[in-house]
Symmetry: C2
Subunit: 135 residues, 2 copies
């Protein structure tokens, strides 16, 4: 695996539906109704139901784990939640386009900058994963 | 809400079962069999099925969102994955004890250091959330 600063990872297109949000609620224990009720999301000042930030973060991280193959090589991962992902009430759901580029390689560790774009705008800021490269 | 350096958040006990892992697989799209098959986990050199790191990270983050009330106040969150959480094949699952303390407050932003302990050992390293405090 030849990896250097500037290496681009294969891009990823995520589709998040309301069914995914309901499953994520059950998996994570985060049953906040802004993730399944338009009515309550609107009371909270949102246009409608939004994805759990951690679901977007986790799903976007697949660009890294798909690339490196072994998820246990991901040493760290985190981001800022800069914008909500609005999930419409239809089968297509929200489309989030994920791209990633290696920003640094040293001591066998690659730093990967991840970008997640929804509706033309970034939803994660400073999303960085550290990956232990195979020998 | 009086928050200062050293403020401790109410602790949280997580119980992650294999059913949670299967739900998380469906929610996140990460169907890696090390999260549901002891056989394949052992081929991969693990003692058995382990939790998705992002599930542990996300579920541990509830200590912060429960405390602050409004999850949209969490501006950033991330961690290192330092140790796997082994999830036994029983109803109790794995118990992860989560504690958190405010390490810094400035300009209305609290930095919260999160600790997640499984089987006596930390499973997340440098887990930090930035939280916008209510006025």
């Amino acid at each position: 695996m030849s990896v250097e600063k500037g290496t681009e990872l294969p891009p990823l297109e995520l589709h998040l539906t309301r069914a995914d949000l309901v499953r994520y609620a059950g998996a994570s224990g985060d049953f906040n109704p802004i993730h399944w009720s338009d009515r309550i999301a609107q009371v909270a000042g949102l246009p409608g139901v939004i994805a759990h930030g951690m679901l977007t973060l986790g799903a976007a991280g697949r660009i890294v784990t798909d690339w490196v193959g072994d998820p246990s090589r991901v040493r760290s991962y985190g981001a800022r939640f800069t914008r909500p992902v609005l999930v419409p009430d239809d089968d297509a759901g929200a489309t989030v386009t994920v791209t990633a580029v290696v920003s640094d390689v040293s001591d066998g560790i690659a730093k990967v900058d991840v970008k997640a774009v929804f509706d033309g705008k970034g939803v994660l800021g400073r999303a960085v994963a550290e990956v232990v490269l195979p020998d």
